[in-house]
């Protein structure tokens, strides 16, 4: 449908034109990569766990996708009142179409961000173990992108004031990221930790990305895909429902 396409295109144009946003949103993953990557590499190797940059890079890639997705979704809070979204709410277009267009656009942007982080990792010295798993990698990244764009959108539908944005970032997104196996292997952590990581959807995304890039799986490729597909579908459904109900 041309409506979905034009809404998708709009998100992409906005992204491509905002050089400031592109650069600044890559800063955080880069910082993590360099600081943690080179900072902990000695300790990691001495613990017998190998090259930390190889381990960390997928985590940082996941970070890029996660943050970008949530941000794209949560932009809606501002958009709802002061932006373009009102146009779409009053147009003779079903809400689910608008939701799909937005989510596709936001997820595409998150995916591009993830790819840019991959390039950064390659520059810093990260090497994927094979090119054959590239399609699989994109599947995992894509699912994470869609899931968290839908999550960001869902939150934006519920919240009235964009003062909530830092709350969401600090109490939801950061914990999701830190407790996902992005920064450290999950087989050595305390039980409580492992339990949280197991119910954290991002863990499966990170594991999928790491598995596709380095061949190291904590769960399994099938578990990861299954969990991600189910959760993404659920979040999309929830997000669409919430979006259909908002009254501008």
């Amino acid at each position: 449908m041309s409506t979905i396409f034009i809404l998708w295109l709009r998100q992409l144009k906005r992204y491509v034109r905002s050089r400031g946003r592109v650069i600044s949103s890559l800063a955080q993953p880069l910082l993590f990569l360099l600081a943690f990557g080179f900072g902990f590499s000695g300790v990691f190797r001495r613990a017998g766990a190998g090259n930390y940059i190889q381990f960390l890079a997928p985590g940082v890639i996941g970070m890029g996708v996660l943050f970008s997705g949530v941000f794209s979704g949560i932009e809606l809070i501002w958009d709802k009142q002061f932006g373009f979204i009102k146009e779409t709410l009053v147009a003779p277009v079903p809400r689910w179409v608008v939701m799909l267009g937005r989510t596709a656009g936001g997820a595409s942007v998150a995916l591009i961000q993830g790819i840019l982080v991959i390039l950064m990792c390659l520059i810093v010295g990260f090497r994927p173990h094979s090119i054959a798993t590239l399609p699989l990698l994109l599947v995992y990244m894509g699912l994470v992108a869609v899931m968290f764009t839908a999550l960001g959108t869902s939150i934006a539908c519920i919240v009235a004031d964009f003062q909530a944005f830092p709350l969401v970032m600090n109490f939801l997104v950061m914990p999701l990221f830190f407790l996902s196996g992005a920064l450290f292997p999950l087989d050595q952590v305390p039980t409580a930790f492992k339990a949280i990581a197991t119910i954290n959807p991002l863990s499966y995304g990170i594991d999928g990305v790491r598995g596709a890039l380095t061949g190291a799986w904590h769960f399994s490729p099938f578990t990861d895909v299954a969990v991600l597909v189910v959760l993404t579908a659920v979040l999309l459904a929830v997000g669409t429902r919430l979006f259909a109900r908002i009254e501008a």
Binding site: L7, R10, R14, D161
Partner: protein, 277 residues
Amino acid sequence: MAGPGAPARTAGGKRLIRTEHLTRRFGAICAVDDVSFEVAAGEIFAFLGPNGAGKTTTIRMLTTLLKPTSGTVLLDGLDIAREPHEVRRRFGIVFQDPSLDVELTARENMTIHAVLYGIPRAERAVRIERLLRQFDLWDRRDDFVKRFSGGMKRRLEIARSLLHTPRVIFLDEPTLGLDPQTRNQLWTHVRALNSQEGVTVFLTTHYMDEAERVAQRIAVIDHGRIVALDSPQELKRQTQAESLEDAFLRLTGTQIRDEQASGMDHMRQMARGFRRA
């Protein structure tokens, strides 16, 4: 365009907008209480009221953004509750807060609107050009909207709202924050639209002098109820006021209406801060 002496009821002309016992409650509060009125096709109709009177809520219900608790709204003969999408094709709206995408160009904003409203591809370019020229924006069609002045943005929003040739356009505080020259130009455009193309205009404003000059009939809402509905001249005569502003104050009292600032008001204040920068 006829000025003074406009009829109090819409005896002539088709009833384009009709509300019957429109009511909206938010919990215990009744924001809009049994409101019934009509707007004739081809009219310029002003909807006035103090803060918190139920004005915005009413408009949101008229424009399908909010569901009434009870009562009906008919637009161009269609029931808003039953056929919201058909109704949406019939009206255009310029919101109080901007709804343009400032990171896109004027033309891109118009194109999105054309797609959203299902304007056939073959007609899009023609209509977009005609409207941008009509509102003196054609030269800036490929500029980013963020580089437009406030008045230009407002003109673009009006131009955009007309792309799908609506029967009526809703203007919610259209001249808020604009300088007198721009305001004058805007009303000239709107009046031309009304007189030459017969577009019905439903507006709200706090600028009473504008309402007086431009509107043929005015409804005043207060505490969720319509307290007066007549031409500006009649309202002044009934309240024995010199100006519409005086008449309005006599009808609604001079007490200041304080409201609780909602999250939305907070964001609006922040937006104003950004705008000045």
